[in-house]
């Protein structure tokens, strides 16, 4: 599903962000990528989204070598990846429904399908009753649920979550983690970038630790053994 072979990334300033990364994430896996700030976690997300190219190495996502994806085809590639951010990135002037529907409109889905899919996904994240609310009328946890619904509404094969609980208190953080786990159980590959070790330790999932741009440990969940 996701494969990185000897991937290195050095920014134009000369600062190395990742060096010689090798990893393989299988379909349907739930993986934590952890490390302190500046360790290279966000660079990894950007590389997986083809927002930037690696300086060295090859990256495969959904069987496609990202080096071979033309600029014109990047949008089609990204439609198979859902992304969730720490700061939710919701459109503040649009309702919960419109924020989710927006993700379908930009990929030119029919109105009929939008009207069917949006209530379903809002119901899945537990926000069906708040579909008319504006983001500012929701709690942080609810806003992150909207962001997850938006990331999932186009049924991507992979969900990348960059510090999804970073702006949430502990109970809300746990609720989001549980939601991500449910999503994973339905077959979506989930990659969560976090530095919150409490979630990482208690959830018993595969954990990849990055330090100074290098993978220092790759621990499988106990279920794998």
């Amino acid at each position: 599903m996701i494969k990185m072979e000897h991937v290195s990334k050095t920014y134009q300033t000369g600062m190395p962000a990742l060096s010689d990364i090798n990893l393989h994430i299988r379909p349907g896996e739930f993986v934590f990528i952890t490390g302190v700030s500046g360790s290279g976690k966000s660079t990894m997300i950007k590389l997986l989204l083809d927002e930037m190219k690696p300086t060295k190495g090859r990256i495969f996502v959904n069987g496609k070598n990202l080096a071979g994806i033309t600029r014109r085809n990047i949008p089609y590639f990204r439609r198979n990846i859902g992304v969730v951010f720490q700061d939710f990135r919701l459109l503040q002037d649009r309702s919960v429904y419109d924020n989710v529907a927006f993700a379908m409109k930009v990929v030119e889905t029919s109105n009929k399908k939008i009207k069917k899919s949006v209530p379903e996904i809002l119901s899945m994240v537990g926000l069906a009753a708040k579909y008319r609310s504006l983001p500012k009328q929701l709690s942080g946890g609810e806003q992150q649920r909207v962001a997850i619904a938006r990331a999932l509404v186009n049924q991507p094969k992979i969900l990348l979550a960059d510090e999804p609980t970073g702006n949430l208190d502990n109970p809300n953080g746990w609720a989001i983690m549980k939601l991500l786990e449910e999503i994973n159980e339905k077959g979506t590959t989930v990659v969560v970038v976090t530095h919150n070790l409490e979630f990482v330790e208690k959830m018993d999932k595969r954990v990849i630790t990055i330090k100074k741009g290098q993978i220092v440990s790759d621990k499988e969940s106990s279920e794998e053994f």
Binding site: P75, Y76, R78, R79, R89, L91, K105, V106, V107, N154
Partner: protein, 302 residues
């Protein structure tokens, strides 16, 4: 792009105009001023061209024949003149007609004063062709051609008049062109500014769209709609104002300054606007499109 996406982009374009209404209004106002000035210059230009044409057509080249040539040879020269594209019209003036004109010009109504020439027309051998041209700038070319024709003794031309008219016409074109170029540049700059504001307001939305998998064309389309709508509005408004202004101005000048309307004829509004409307609309849409494309290229990496 699918129809619903086109509709979505149009809707977003209008929303963006509404969201940045002050900037949009400023752009429409500038665009209106530009097209309005363009329209004024254009109308003046059309009328001025009409005037020049009239003057040009009244400047004649005169061809005199060699002594003793036959009427057939004169007709052959006439056919050669007729075949020239720069010639608008020509006429044969006999020696008698030439003399009558001189008498009329010099002695006015007192024909008896010219009686001493009664049987001796000094212009008997001065029959000629008077040639009027389409474009006075080609006069020298025609004169050179005519001088080489067999049976032609002399070709008279008003070189100074031709040169003055040509130079004046060129000067007007240069001034007209320069002003238009400056106005277009200002309009593109202002539309580009409005689009830049639109992009910065929607920066977050654009980033999300790109991450979700929106195609470049889908991201760009609302901004292009915005530019085109501003350009189009900025050309329709001045056209309406100019139409009424021009129509009323002709009537006003005709009634208040009769000497002006005797001097030259105004080009009717239907003739002016038949050309001005499509040019102004194309300019408006074109400037809007170029302004938005230019900005998208500069500020939006899609």
């Amino acid at each position: 792009m699918k129809l619903r996406s086109i509709m979505y982009s149009i809707g977003q374009g209008f929303k963006s105009i509404w969201r940045n209404k002050m900037f949009s209004l400023a752009s429409v106002a500038t665009m209106t001023a530009c097209i309005f000035l363009f329209g004024i210059f254009f109308s003046l230009g059309v009328n001025f061209s009409g005037m020049l044409k009239n003057v040009e057509e009244s400047v004649a080249v005169t061809v005199f024949f060699e002594k003793g040539i036959t009427q057939e040879q004169k007709d052959a020269i006439g056919n050669d003149i007729k075949a020239r594209t720069e010639v608008s019209s020509y006429k044969y003036v006999s020696g008698k007609q030439a003399f009558d004109t001189v008498i009329k010009d010099f002695y006015g109504g007192n024909k008896e004063l010219a009686e001493s020439f009664a049987d001796d027309n000094p212009l008997a051998d001065s029959d000629n062709y008077q040639i009027f041209m389409n474009d006075v700038s080609s006069q020298q070319k025609l004169v050179t051609y005519l001088s080489k024709l067999q049976g032609v003794r002399e070709v008279h031309q008003s070189e100074a008049a031709a040169r003055t008219l040509t130079d004046f016409s060129r000067l007007i074109s240069v001034i007209f062109g320069s002003v238009i170029i400056i106005l277009i540049a200002v309009a593109i700059f202002l539309i580009s500014n409005t689009i830049t504001v639109g992009i910065s307001v929607r920066k977050e939305e654009i980033a999300i769209m790109k991450l979700i998998g929106a195609k470049d064309s889908f991201v760009r389309a609302p901004f292009i709609v915005e530019g085109i709508v501003i350009g189009l509005s900025g050309s329709i408004i001045p056209l309406i104002i100019l139409w009424f202004m021009y129509k009323n101005l002709i009537v006003y000048i005709a009634s208040k300054y009769q000497f002006l309307s005797n001097l030259f004829k105004f080009v009717p509004e239907t003739s002016v606007f038949k050309t001005l409307v499509p040019i102004a609309l194309i300019l408006g849409v074109g400037i809007g499109y170029i302004g938005s494309r230019f900005t998208l290229h500069r500020h939006l990496n899609v």
